[in-house]
Symmetry: C2
Subunit: 339 residues, 2 copies
C-alpha cells in the first residue's frame, strides 16, 4: 500500500490563521481489529516523512503489523501533509501559517476518528518533534491514550533547544538565494549550512571522539565535512515551518493548562517510557528526568547511545536499536492505567 | 603600565610560510625577582586580548602581582600580536599564514628569554586556546615549566571541536560583505552569526534551563537573541586566523612526538591541574579525563559550572570563579617535580 491522503477541509489554527483546504497524509501498516483496540500512532519528526518510519515496523519487531494497526502520520510542514511547498497562494511558501503541536494532534485525532472510527490508542510513539506530539496526545486526551513512548524529544521546547533552532534558522535563511522564501529553486547553500549545523549538533562529542564518522570514504574530519551527498532535508520553507512548530512546542500552552507544564505532565494518565538518548545535545536526558518526575505513570529509559540525537536511528549502533525495540515491546506488554 | 611590544623579526612558521616582521605584544603584572623564579605566563585565548585577563590578577587573588611576575601574552591573530589586521601586504587579511600553537609557544619563549632572561616558569595558565598553549609549553619544554593549569581546553583539538569550528567559520564567511577577507569594513552579519553560534555552543543546556540568560532586560529567549550589543569579537580575518590555529592544535604534531599524543602528554613533567568546565560543549570533561590519564603529574579538577565554556569567566557564577582561583593558589603551593 502506498500512502493515503485525508481531506480536512478548512481548519483553524491554535496561534491564529487558518488553512482553507488542509490535508493530512498517512500510511497504515497491519489491520485494524474489530474491537479497534490495536492502534499504534507514529507521527513523523522534523524533516521526516512516513516512509522514514518503515524500517522499525515489521514481523518480529515490536511494531509488528501482524498484531497492530500502525498509523504513521505525516506532520504538517513535512512536504506530505499540508506544507508551504504543496499549499496554494495565499498560504504558500513563507505565508504558510504557524501550526502548533496541538494542531497536529487534533488533526491526527480527526483522521483516526472520522476515517476509521478509532477512539482509543494503544500507543503513541514518536521521535524528536514526534515525541512532542506523543506527550501532547497523552496530556490533552488522557483518557484515549493507553501508552506513550516519547523518544529523543520533550514536552516543552527547552530554552537551549530554542537557541539551537535559531542557529538552524540562521543557516537556512543565510543563502542570498533564499529571498525570504520566494526562491526560484530550493536553496542549496541553505541546506548545506543546515547540514553542517546538524553535523555538529545532531551527533555527540563521544561519537566523534570514537571516529565513528570516519570510514573507507572519509579518512579525515575535513573530508567528512566536504562530503558530496544528496541534501535530503526537503524544501527550505517546509523545514522553516516545522521549526516554527518546534520552537514554540509546549504541551501546556493551551486552554486546558495555561502554560502550567507540571499540570500538563501530571494529566498524562498513559503508561509512559520516556526515552532520551544519553548524549543527545538537542534534548539532553536531564530534561526528560525532570518531565518524568511530574508524570504519574512514567519511567525514564535512557538509551545508552553515543549517537546523540541520532541514537537508535537507522544506521546507528545496532545495540541502541535493539534497546529501543525491546523497550517498545515491554511497554506494549504492560497494563495501562487507562482502561 | 600599558602593554609592550616585542619585535621578533622574520619568523618561520611550523606549517610553512613566514612573517617578515613579526611582533608579539604582552603586558606584565608585578616584578621579576632576582632569582627569576616567580614567573607566571598567561597566554590569551581565541578572540581574547591581554586586557581580558586583568580581572583575575590582583592583590589577594591567586595571581597576585605582589608575589609573581605575571606575563600576559597576546596570541598571534588576536589583533595585538601579529595578525591579519595589523600586518602589511603581502601577508595581510586572508593572506596571513597559518600559525600553530607551537609557533606561539616558541615565540613566547623567545620573548621571555631575550627580553627578560627568563629560563623557567613557575606556572603556565591558559583558558581555551590558551590551555592548548599551556599543554604545549609543558610538553615541548618539559624541564622549563614547573606547573601548568590548562582550563577549558585540550592538548589536541577533538574531532567534534573541529566540526564546531567549521560552523564558526561558516558563520564568519557567510556574510556576502566578507568578500574572501577583502572587505571594506569588518563584516557585521558575520559577527552577528558568530555571536548566535557562540550563544548556542558557549554556554550549556543547564545554563539556559535555569534561565540565567534572562533578566530585567530580556524577558524571553527571543529578546535575548535579538539583543543589541557591541560585537566585540574583533576583526573577522583575525578570528579566522585564530580558528586556523585552533582547528589543527595538537601538542604532538611536531618533530619530537610525531603525532603520538600519548607520548606528548607523558612528556609533561610539570605538576598539572587540568580544569575543564563540567558543562563545556567545546571541551567536554571526558577529553580532559583521557588526557590526565597519560600525564604523570596531573590531577583532574572539574569546575562544577553550568556556564559551559564560559565557566569561571568574568560575570559568571562567583562560586566557579572562587573554585578556579583556589585551585590556582593550591597548584602554586605544590612542590613541582621540575626542579
Amino acid at each position: 500500500m502506498t500512502f493515503e491522503r485525508y481531506e480536512l477541509g478548512e481548519i483553524d489554527l491554535q496561534y491564529g490563521g487558518h488553512l482553507p483546504a488542509a490535508q493530512i497524509t498517512y500510511k497504515t501498516h497491519g489491520t485494524l481489529n474489530r474491537q479497534k483496540d490495536n492502534v499504534i500512532v507514529f507521527p513523523t519528526w522534523c524533516t521526516g516523512q512516513h516512509k522514514d518510519v518503515e524500517w522499525i515496523i515489521g514481523p518480529g519487531k515490536a511494531l509488528d503489523p501482524g498484531r497492530y494497526f500502525i498509523v504513521v502520520i505525516d506532520m504538517f510542514g513535512n512536504g506530505m501533509s499540508s506544507s508551504p511547498s504543496n499549499t496554494s497562494p495565499p498560504f504558500d511558501r513563507s505565508r504558510f501559517p504557524r501550526v502548533s503541536i496541538l494542531d497536529n494532534v487534533r488533526m491526527e485525532r480527526r483522521l483516526l476518528e472520522e476515517k476509521f472510527g478509532i477512539e482509543r490508542l494503544k500507543l503513541v510513539i514518536g521521535r524528536s518533534m514526534g515525541a512532542q506530539l506523543a506527550f501532547q496526545w497523552g496530556s490533552y486526551f488522557p483518557d484515549e491514550v493507553e501508552r506513550i513512548l516519547p523518544m529523543c524529544g520533550s514536552a516543552r521546547t527547552a530554552q537551549h533547544n530554542y537557541v539551537f533552532l535559531a542557529t538552524l534558522k540562521m543557516a537556512l535563511t543565510s543563502d542570498p538565494e533564499w529571498r525570504n522564501g520566494d526562491y526560484a529553486s530550493n536553496p542549496v547553500v541553505s541546506r548545506q549550512r543546515m547540514r553542517l549545523t546538524v553535523d555538529a549538533w545532531g551527533l555527540s562529542q563521544t561519537f566523534y571522539r570514537r571516529r565513528l564518522h570516519l570510514n573507507d570514504r572519509f579518512a579525515t574530519t575535513q573530508e567528512y565535512l566536504d562530503r558530496d551527498m544528496p541534501l535530503s532535508f526537503g524544501d527550505v520553507n517546509d523545514i522553516l515551518t516545522q521549526i516554527a512548530t518546534w520552537e514554540v512546542a509546549d504541551i501546556s500552552d493551551n486552554d486546558r493548562f495555561n502554560k502550567d507544564l507540571g499540570a500538563a505532565l501530571r494529566a498524562i494518565k498513559a503508561k509512559a517510557f520516556v526515552m532520551p538518548s544519553k548524549t543527545d545535545l538537542y534534548f539532553p536526558p536531564e530534561d526528560s528526568e525532570i518531565e518524568v518526575a511530574s508524570m504519574p505513570n512514567a519511567e525514564l529509559r535512557v538509551i545508552p547511545s553515543v549517537w546523540g540525537h541520532r541514537g537508535a536511528s537507522p544506521g546507528s549502533d545496532p545495540a541502541d536499536i535493539e534497546f529501543f525495540d525491546k523497550a517498545i515491546a515491554e511497554l506494549l506488554a504492560t497494563t495501562s492505567p487507562v482502561k
